[in-house]
């Protein structure tokens, strides 16, 4: 619970600073870079998570890794987070930042599940259609699930556009059972 609240506070602070100081592109690049570094080094994550290592030491570690590689504002932000003792939320904060960035740029993440791999033409048509419908830029994340038999399932946020054969069959089953079936 608190993880969500903490990370959204810090990430929106960073995001608003970026917009205010007109450093949006630079800081966004930094964030992607920092996330890449964190994902590439498990040790760095455990050091940041560790309550045994003192904040001062963490500060100098961060300084040594990132100094001159990222914008000074981003570095200040990293230092600030460590000073506040929230360094174990780094990854959450930056992932949230990416969400805010997508929202700002009008990009929507769509998880598409298909029974078999879509070819380029099919995915292009799907992207275009969804983009037109939502009036936003679309970023498709594919996954393959053979149990849906055919069609596709597109998940945009919490809303699901279900055009799978499996779902159609379920609806058909429900229709047949109608009248006989009851709640619980």
């Amino acid at each position: 619970m608190s993880q969500y609240k903490v990370s959204i506070r810090y990430s929106s602070a960073l995001f608003e600073t970026a917009i205010y100081k007109k450093l949006f592109e630079v800081i966004s690049e930094d964030v992607k870079f920092i996330l890449k570094v964190f994902h590439s080094s498990k040790q760095l994550v455990s050091v940041m998570d560790s309550p045994v290592i003192k904040g001062q030491l963490k500060l100098s570690i961060i300084d040594e890794i990132f100094k001159d590689k990222i914008n000074i504002e981003t570095l200040y932000f990293l230092r600030f987070v460590i000073k506040k003792g929230r360094e174990n939320y780094f990854i959450n904060i930056f992932e949230k930042y990416l969400d805010l960035m997508d929202e700002h740029l009008g990009i929507v993440n769509v998880d598409v599940k298909t029974a078999f791999k879509f070819d380029d033409n099919q995915s292009k048509v799907l992207t275009e259609n969804l983009g037109q419908k939502l009036n936003k830029q679309i970023r498709l994340n594919y996954s393959i699930d053979e149990t849906i038999i055919g069609g596709f399932i597109a998940k945009i946020g919490d809303t699901v556009h279900d055009a799978s054969v499996k779902h159609q069959l379920e609806l058909l089953k429900k229709k047949f059972l109608e009248g006989g079936a009851t709640l619980n």
Partner: protein
């Protein structure tokens, strides 16, 4: 032999399935983060409404009760072991609701409107949300029609009007349910042709059993059936075996069904048996939903839990059809402690209370109503004039009797006036005793109480009072039937009627032994 051609079958199939849409279906989903103890915490469902029904896998339904920043708390109406972490939850886009209609009469249903009496499905064409806002001031009218319970002590001194909320409170085994069941059985009269000609509208009844034993509910249903009361009654059952969420919503479903009758200009009586168990069920889910506990570990909104339920009982204004919903909530106290949390809350919400005491019950006063501390704050306006006339002196006589009761053991050492008051009081108490499932018509109550308060019982042995009452009423029924007819029709106790009653009583005194 009859034959069915294959192409006929396919034609039928095509026809049946013609309405089936094959377009993409759009719905909102969430993911189960945590499940257990009848509660599921769900991530996602960002557009979900408070108290919306959500669908879990395996046909388990749930209701949203908590909307947090990053998750949604749901209570489950089915078994939580059918649900796993990571399962998909679908929105249904409708708040928890139940089917309503006259088809529900005579049935035993769950709080979600599913029949459990094995008499087949119920088809109604109307759905109403289980949680509804109570009516405002403009839509209401003052309570003015009587709701006869058929229990003399109540109808005379603690009268209940249509649209009133009268609490029945007492320890276990004091006859709380019996009072409510008698009230339901007595409504049978309102469904007769005679009542129709007298302008008495029928009262439909709903009995909500919360957290009771299944066998107790079955017994109540059997008793209602035996007395022909099931024809106009619906029993909503959430027994102790059901999950807490169902017990929690059961009274609200009862209110919803009652409101259906009320809003159609009809009259309904709903019995919540009992609200202390509902509060316990609500405490259970509140604690599981991690809401902070307060006094007696109940959550902070336990007052609202009952106030919003009982506020739905109301009498509608004439413009809205003049229907009514009367509520008889029941609260069980522990060792007669009415200052516990839930009893005080409900006492303050209702328009009066009927106290039942185990000491009275054990000393043979049944119904064990303590008329000294029982009150009805609005029912007086709903009493028929004849009853009002005789009830005034009854109340006074009983109050005097209670004040002197402590001296009764001095017996013959008392002055004659005191002795007289005590004798009369004892006879009136005897007169108000009544068996279970034998409601008395209001006109008979009036005559009996008139005789009691006017000294016609004073020379009769206490042990003979009930017999005297029965026989004198039979006597009047036979010889002076017009007395009852006039009271029924004019609802007044005219001087002419009084003369007739006196005459009849004098005549009867000669033959009674």
């Amino acid at each position: 032999m009859a034959e069915v051609r294959p192409d006929e079958i396919s034609a039928i199939l095509r026809k049946q399935l013609s309405g089936f849409e094959s377009e993409a279906d759009i719905y909102d989903v969430g993911t189960v983060l945590q499940v257990g103890d009848g509660i599921a915490r769900v991530y996602g469902l960002s557009q979900v409404m408070m108290s919306e029904l959500v669908e879990f896998p395996n046909d388990v339904f749930g209701m949203v009760l908590n909307l947090d920043e990053d998750s949604v708390g749901c209570v489950l109406f089915g078994e939580s072991r059918l649900i796993k972490e990571g399962d998909t939850v679908k929105r249904t886009k409708r708040v928890a609701s139940m089917p309503v209609g006259e088809e529900m009469l005579g049935r035993v249903i769950t709080p979600l409107g599913v029949p459990i009496d094995g008499k087949g499905g119920i088809t109604t064409n109307k759905f109403l949300p289980i949680e509804r806002k109570a009516l405002g001031v403009i839509q209401r009218a003052p309570v003015k029609e009587p709701l006869q319970t058929g229990i003399a002590a109540i109808d005379s001194m603690i009268p209940i009007g249509r649209g009133q909320r009268e609490l029945i409170i007492g320890d276990r085994q004091t006859g709380k349910t019996a009072v409510a069941i008698d009230a339901i059985i007595n409504q049978k009269y309102t469904h007769t042709e005679e009542a129709k000609t007298l302008g008495i509208d029928p009262v439909f009844c709903i009995y909500v059993a919360v957290g009771q034993k299944g066998s107790t509910v079955a017994q109540v249903v059997a008793k209602l059936e035996e007395n022909g009361a099931m024809d106009y009654t619906t029993v909503i059952s959430a027994t102790a075996a059901e999950p807490a969420p169902l017990q929690f919503i059961a009274p609200y479903s009862g209110a919803t069904l009652g409101e259906f009758f009320r809003d159609n200009g009809k009259h309904a009586l709903v019995v919540y048996d009992d609200l202390s168990k509902q509060a316990v069920a609500y405490r259970e889910l509140s604690l599981l939903l991690r809401r902070p506990p307060g006094r007696e570990a109940y959550p902070g909104d336990v007052f609202y839990l009952h106030s919003r339920l009982l506020e739905r009982a109301s009498k509608l204004s004439e413009d809205l059809g003049g229907g009514s919903l009367t509520a008889l909530p029941i609260i069980e106290t522990q060792q007669g402690d009415v200052s516990a949390y839930i009893p005080t809350n409900v006492i303050s919400i209702t328009d009066g209370q009927i106290y039942l005491e185990s000491s009275l019950f054990n000393s043979g006063v049944r119904p064990a109503i303590n008329v000294g501390i029982s009150v009805s704050r609005v029912g007086g306006n709903a009493q028929i004039k004849a009853m009002k006339k005789v009830a005034g002196s009854l109340k006074l006589d009983l109050a005097q009797y209670r004040a002197l009761e402590a001296f009764a053991k001095f017996g013959s050492d008392l002055d004659t006036h005191t002795q007289k008051t005590l004798a009369k009081g004892a006879r009136l108490v005897e007169l108000l005793k009544q068996g279970q499932y034998v409601p008395i018509q209001v006109e008979k109550q009036v005559v009996a109480i008139y005789l009691g308060t006017n000294g016609y019982l004073d020379n009769i042995d206490i042990a003979d009072v009930k017999r005297y009452e029965k026989e004198v009423l039979e006597f009047i029924e036979m010889k002076y039937k017009q007395v009852f007819d006039v009271i029924k029709k004019e609802k007044q106790l005219s001087d002419a009627s009084i003369e007739l009653i006196k005459k009849a009583a004098d005549e009867f005194a000669v033959v009674f032994k």
